[in-house]
């Protein structure tokens, strides 16, 4: 165990980088500082993975300090096997976001990279928080940089999308604020561990109300059907880095909230709400997939596919079976990798063609073979092709679903089939066939910076597909403890 506060350093290093960028007068240096900061953040987080004890379900690397003693609120950090993979994902995606924005962002670059780094602090902090107060602070903190990223550097409908994103997420999270304050009032503490112990003091009815309050916040972020409508706009209008953060991390924050708050602290309410949650998840999977099928805009298509994919995640969580929950967490990581990669792919080609309409593409394969190969890999991964990462996650979730209710498993399988359809159809329309006349003469092939941006994700998709134990081994102990707590 290292003596220095590794979690706080990892969390706040990007913030320091953001301050540095804002203090520097030179716009052109900003991206270099951002790159250095994100790489350094990844580097300082390394001890987390080396020294982590996988056999323990407790929070590790715990840090605590006095913060607001009059209200019994402390500063507390700590990670367990559930949160650790997300910290890694956030740190990796942040580096890639800088890579993807290298030439795409030409205006007000200092502000852009500063916002990106603040978002990284919020992402890592959220997954490291050991109490609800800190969790909430990071939860809200990420709204601001993303609001600016979408609204300033997005495409034509950016302001509408930014405001919609802000109001939706804020409307959800203020109810979480009420829930948090009610928990504080009833239990006298906001520490996750203490709350899980103090839950006996909550009446079943109170638990139900609290669950509903937290559900409002988590459901918007996931996003679950029917509060997903902000997502297509935000994803579509955001700059590539913004879409990557949204799809890669932000959507996972909601599902992580279920695992960190709802399941351990409000188990009675979880069992009470089980059926509606499962139904909503199944609807999200199938409805999301059908809506995805008819999209004409590449980014919108991937955005809607997230609704369907995140439906798998919530389905897995609320099966309350080991394979379902482990699969859900693995699937969150997988979705973070694959969807981020797909948005990166779209962003890279958009930079050259300035169109997102599927009908403007076609025959890209002949012009850009490397690009097409990588895109094929990520499309297959997203569709749950065996040997690639999403297959394992979806397989586990479907297993868990069949364990719970047969028809849930059937819906999930249906969703997978539809997923394969829309992804392969997208690939067919973009890459195969005759070259679209509009693309002739464009230099579509990726340069080495872009290949380097995509390569880590391709590698991760392959590694996790072939050896899912890389993540699953972290999950075993905490998921077992989590499920033991929810069991009646």
């Amino acid at each position: 165990m290292s003596a220095y506060p590794v979690l706080s350093v990892t969390t706040f290093l990007p913030l320091a980088g953001a301050v540095l960028i804002l203090l520097m007068g030179r716009e052109r240096l900003a991206r270099w500082v951002a790159l250095a900061t994100t790489v350094a953040t990844l580097a300082v987080s390394a001890p987390l993975y080396w020294h982590f004890d996988k056999s323990s379900s407790a929070l590790q690397f715990v840090e605590s300090a006095e913060w607001i003693p009059a209200w019994n609120i402390a500063y507390g950090m700590g990670v367990d096997g559930i949160s650790l993979p997300f910290i890694f994902l956030a740190a990796v995606l942040s580096v890639l976001c800088v890579g993807a924005s290298w030439t795409a962002i030409q205006t007000r670059t200092r502000g852009f990279y500063a916002a990106l780094l603040v978002a990284e602090t919020a992402m890592i902090g959220l997954f490291s928080a050991a109490n609800l107060f800190l969790f909430f602070i990071f939860w809200e903190l990420i709204i601001v940089p993303l609001f600016l990223l979408i609204g300033i550097w997005g495409s034509s409908g950016r302001v509408y999308a930014a405001v919609k994103f802000l109001l939706f997420t804020l409307a959800g999270s203020v109810l979480m604020l009420v829930g948090m304050i009610a928990l504080h009032h009833t239990c006298g503490t906001l520490d996750f561990k203490a709350l899980a112990l103090a839950r006996q003091s909550l009446q079943p009815e109170q638990q139900a109300w609290l669950f509903a309050a937290f559900l409002a916040a988590f459901a918007v972020k996931v996003p679950m059907f029917p509060v997903h409508t902000w997502l297509p706009d935000a994803h579509t209008e955001a700059p590539t880095a913004g879409s990557v953060i949204l799809a890669g991390i932000l959507l996972k924050m909601g599902a992580y909230g279920f695992l960190r708050v709802s399941l351990p602290i409000l188990p009675d309410a979880v069992r009470l709400f089980l059926k509606p949650m499962l139904v909503i998840s199944a609807v999200a999977i199938v409805y999301g997939a059908y809506v995805t099928l008819v999209q004409k805009d590449v980014k919108r298509l991937i955005a809607f596919s997230s609704v369907s994919h995140m439906g798998f995640v919530t389905l897995g969580i609320f099966t309350l079976t080991r394979s379902g929950v482990e699969g859900a967490i693995l699937q969150m990581i997988n979705h973070g990798i694959v969807t981020a990669a797909l948005f990166l792919c779209v962003g890279m080609i958009y930079e050259r063609t300035h169109t997102r309409e599927i009908k403007d593409y076609g025959g890209v394969g002949k012009i850009a073979p490397v690009y097409s190969t990588l895109l094929a890999l990520f499309c297959l991964a997203a569709a749950g092709f065996p040997g690639l990462n999403s297959f394992v996650g979806e397989f586990l979730i479907i297993g868990g679903a069949f364990e719970t209710r047969g028809w849930l498993g059937a819906m999930a399988v249906w969703g997978v089939a539809l997923g394969t359809t829309y992804l392969l159809w997208l690939y067919y329309r973009v890459v195969m066939g005759k070259t679209n006349p509009g693309l002739v003469g464009l230099e579509l092939e990726l340069n080495s910076r872009e290949v380097a941006t995509l390569a880590p994700l391709a590698l991760l998709a392959l590694c996790l597909g072939l050896y899912p134990e890389l993540v699953l081994s972290y999950l075993r102990a905490p998921v077992a403890a989590l499920l033991a707590g929810v069991a009646p």
Binding site: A70, I137, L148, L170, V174
Partner: protein, 468 residues
């Protein structure tokens, strides 16, 4: 120790006011008066802090007290005075306002506020509040050449004197029924006979709450605020929105806790109504504003509603959350007003904020900070403040009110973020604003630091805010 020692902060302010009056004709630039006022404010704040270490004392026959509560608000009032004096530099020269007189009025108004927050007797309380209000009338109308300013002053005068009459009527009824004006006498009479013993007491309490609600511009006693803010020069509007509101809240807090403490249940109904109405009406009306000062006026109405949430519980813990709210509210609102003032004519209209962040990134970022804080988004002071008062409302069992409060913070997010959208996501239409005077920059920096540090490390302030 003589009783006068309890009033050292007030005496410092009055002393500086007298000095300024004496040398008024020799003051040629605004700067001299500003320096004098700021120094006096700082000295008063330091004196308040120093007196704090002496523990609780009362003087002047039990009419004036020195306790943590009064010193907390005195420091807050002194800070508000100092910041307002700093940002007045430019307005005074541009509007050709009599320099010394303006500052004398600011100083005397602050003296009145300080007197009222340390009052333990309805008479000293009334005297303090009237001194404050009297100076405020003149401050609102101080730009004699501007018709809007005159109109605002007259409106403000008519409505506020009505409010003062209500307050005075309440005080006299209380005196008639309880036989005393000191808070302790009222409290003992109430605990002996109860509120039900004499229906006049209920009327008296209602009238006093109404009178004080006028001073803090809580709905339905708010109608003067938007007009007064819009008509007055921006620094005066900032002063009305911060210092006088903080004083009004402090007085309301002490009256409700100490004098009417035994009747917390009746009082909490009144306060809950005021709070809910202020939050709803303030937020909704702010949505429609295109004038920045009117927008901030309605926003301040909504914020008073939030601050009142802490008083509903009728407990010292609840009142201390109101203290925290008042403290952070003063700095974030002053910060927003600083930006309005810094931008001059352009800052008074919502359209003037288009493209500001591209032209002046630092001012844009600071305004964003204040707006986020006003919305209540962490890690800013506004979030800590909001957390506290909602916790207090929840403890008092007002869950519906807590939900209402957070629901309207989404509405307020729309109000404030509209400004942010203009600043960050629109193209500029006007030339970049000129550079700021040093004094305005200093005020901005102080407000920003408190707003940011208060959000990140609120621990010591939360521990310090102890109510009577």
């Amino acid at each position: 120790m003589s009783d006068l020692a309890l009033l050292v902060p007030e005496l410092i302010l009055v002393g500086m006011a007298l000095v300024l009056i004496l040398v008024a004709r020799r003051i040629r630039t605004a700067r001299v008066a500003v320096v004098g006022t700021v120094l006096a404010a700082l000295a008063a704040a330091v004196a308040s802090g120093w007196l704090l270490s002496r523990g609780t004392e009362t003087g002047f026959g039990g009419m004036i007290t020195l306790d943590g509560y009064s010193q907390f608000f005195k420091i807050l009032i002194a800070s508000s005075l100092a910041l307002v004096a700093l940002v007045s530099v430019r307005s005074i020269d541009r509007e050709q306002i009599p320099r010394a007189e303006y500052h004398v009025l600011l100083l005397l108004a602050s003296t009145g506020m300080m007197l009222s927050v340390s009052a333990l007797d309805l008479l000293t309380l009334y005297l303090g509040l009237e001194l404050m209000t009297l100076c405020s009338y003149i401050l609102v109308g101080i730009t004699v050449q501007r018709p809007t300013s005159n109109e605002a002053a007259i409106k403000y005068f008519l409505i506020a004197s009505f409010a003062s009459a209500l307050l005075l009527y309440g005080i006299s009824l209380t005196y008639g029924t309880t036989g005393g004006t000191a808070f302790v006498d009222i409290a003992s009479a109430l605990s002996e006979h109860g509120l039900g013993s004499n229906p006049l007491l209920v009327v008296a309490m209602g009238l006093m709450v109404a009178g004080l609600a006028f001073k803090i511009a809580a709905v339905p006693f708010h109608s003067w605020a938007p007009d007064a803010y819009q008509g007055a020069i921006s620094p005066v509007a900032a002063f009305l929105a911060t210092g006088s509101k903080a004083a009004g809240l402090a007085v309301l807090g002490r009256v409700s806790l100490v004098a009417f403490g035994s009747e917390a249940q009746v009082l909490s109904v009144l306060l809950a109504g005021l709070a809910a109405l202020s939050i709803i009406v303030g937020s909704i009306l702010a949505l429609a504003q295109t004038d920045m000062k009117r927008l901030l006026a309605y926003s301040s109405i909504a914020h008073v509603g939030y601050a009142l949430l802490g008083l509903i519980a009728g407990t010292p813990e609840g009142a201390s959350t109101t203290m925290i709210y008042a403290f952070f509210y003063v700095f974030m609102t002053l910060g927003a007003f600083c930006v309005v003032i810094a931008l001059g004519e352009r800052g008074e209209n919502l359209d003037g904020y288009r493209g500001l962040a591209a032209q002046r990134p630092l001012i844009g970022a600071l305004m964003l900070l204040f707006l986020l804080s006003l919305t209540g988004i962490p890690p800013t002071a506004g979030f800590v403040a909001k957390f506290g008062v909602i916790l207090s409302a929840m403890r008092a069992g007002h869950i519906a009110l807590a939900v209402l409060a957070v629901a309207f913070s989404v509405v307020s997010a729309f109000i404030y973020m509209r400004v942010a959208v203009f600043m960050y996501m629109e193209e500029p239409r006007e030339a970049a604003p000129s550079h700021l005077p040093l004094a305005v920059s200093a005020a901005l920096a102080v407000a920003a630091l408190v707003t940011l540090i208060g959000g990140i490390l609120p621990g010591s302030l939360v521990g310090w805010a102890v109510s009577p």
